[in-house]
Amino acid sequence: MIDIKVETANGSHLELKIDSDENRSLMEILSTHDIGMLAACGGLALCGTCHIMFKSGGDNLPPPTKDELAMLEMLPGAGANSRLSCQVMLSKKLNSSNIKVMPID
């Protein structure tokens, strides 16, 4: 199992327990919970509406691709620990991470 602590855009908290063999992106997992994630482009790194910030964990994930970096560059609230959750595939490296879903500008 992968445990992830999530702070939603409106400040509420939830803890996800996800099967580690699911071949899905973090955005797809988050979208199944009613946390207001828009994820408008469906996972193409084109809209920035699945922006998350790692409060802890996430250090050993594969680095963002050029497309993801280009989109992060455009998001006013993005920082060094920002990722597009649609580009983060589930893996055991996410276990015990703590993320914040960023509000949509």
Partner: protein
């Protein structure tokens, strides 16, 4: 605003002898298929093991051609007015006016609008010194211009305006650029040569002026506030999907989607339907094939709405073929 669902709606309406007029804010039909991923293969269109997005759009356009739809492309519907007889007038941002008896919104992700950074006073100065894109750089010749952003667009304009403007300042929240390396190199070289000012690790936080933008407040990451005299501010943070003007048409909206009745995809406003990715209802799947289904049911309902006294007979194309207009 037709993505695939909207194009197929023209076909389904055509079978019922209802002629359609297509309005799309983009210069071509096809929504995100044409604009965002034209060459991506799609694998879940029934009958096509794989089809490129643009090929699907082209086939849909071919399929609706017998029904001779009107096209208004590159224009966004800004106003929708219901007339006393229940019909509608739609007016675009270029003042094109379309009269119709039913409206089908197939807006996909919605309109892509400039992303606005959180800056005090930003919206007060829109059109009064603040703009989100540069249409005519000549208008900035000899002016003091402040740019913000770190993408290709910010870098490109910084280089171009360094030759035109009296003074260009580029504010970027980081200290490296993720845009094209050669353009970033040019920007650093121009800054070293004093031809533009680069403020790194900083954010524009407030704008001031008396009717027109006069100055900007910039906060550096080490806590210093810099006040800068400027006549123009152009934040360049890309585009973000928004519902756009249809947010003001009295439709029920839930999480950036239009709530519809899943029986016929009608909205809370009689005569206005929403199909495809822009709608929401229990069990909604954002799939092209679901949009096609929605288009078919919508057309039946729209016929009954527009012609309440006429009998609707359901016909198969295998029996009756296509009767073009």
């Amino acid at each position: 605003m037709p993505a695939p669902a909207g194009l197929f709606a023209v076909f389904e309406a055509g079978l019922l002898k209802m002629r359609c007029h297509i309005i799309d804010a983009l210069p071509q039909v096809g929504g995100q298929l044409s604009e965002v991923y034209p060459q991506k293969p799609i694998y879940d269109i029934p009958g096509y093991p794989a089809i490129n997005a643009l090929d699907l759009v082209n086939k849909l356009v071919e399929q609706i051609t017998p029904f001779n739809p009107g096209y208004t492309l590159g224009e966004r519907v800004d106003l929708l007015e219901r007339l006393s007889d229940g019909s509608f007038v739609l007016i675009t941002n270029y003042q094109t006016s379309i009269h119709c008896r039913a409206v089908v919104i197939a807006g996909g992700l919605g309109c892509f609008e400039p992303r606005k950074p959180p800056i005090t006073g930003l919206e007060n100065f829109e059109g009064k010194g603040v703009s989100y894109m540069i249409r005519n750089p000549e208008k900035l010749r000899g002016r003091k211009v402040l740019l913000a952003g770190g993408g290709d667009s910010a870098l490109d304009w910084a280089v171009i305006l360094s030759e035109l403007a009296e003074r260009v300042v580029l504010v970027h929240r980081g200290d490296t650029f993720r845009g094209a390396p050669e353009t970033a190199g040019k920007v650093f070289a121009l800054a070293a040569a004093g031809q533009l000012d680069l403020l790194l690790n900083a954010n524009v936080v407030a704008l001031h002026g008396n009717g027109h933008l006069q100055s900007a407040e910039i906060l550096t990451h080490d806590g210093q506030t810099v006040k800068l005299t400027t006549e123009h501010f152009v934040p360049l943070f890309g585009l973000s999907p928004k519902l756009g003007p249809l947010e003001h048409w009295g439709l029920n909206i839930n999480k950036s989607a239009i709530t519809v009745n899943p029986e016929d995809f009608s909205t809370n406003q009689p005569g206005i339907y929403a199909i495809g990715d822009i709608n929401t209802y229990p069990g909604k799947l954002k799939l092209i094939l679901s949009g096609f289904h929605e288009a078919a049911l919508m057309a039946q309902s729209a016929f009954k709405y527009m012609y309440p006294h006429e009998r609707l007979s359901f016909k198969y194309t295998t029996v009756y073929g296509i009767n073009s207009f």
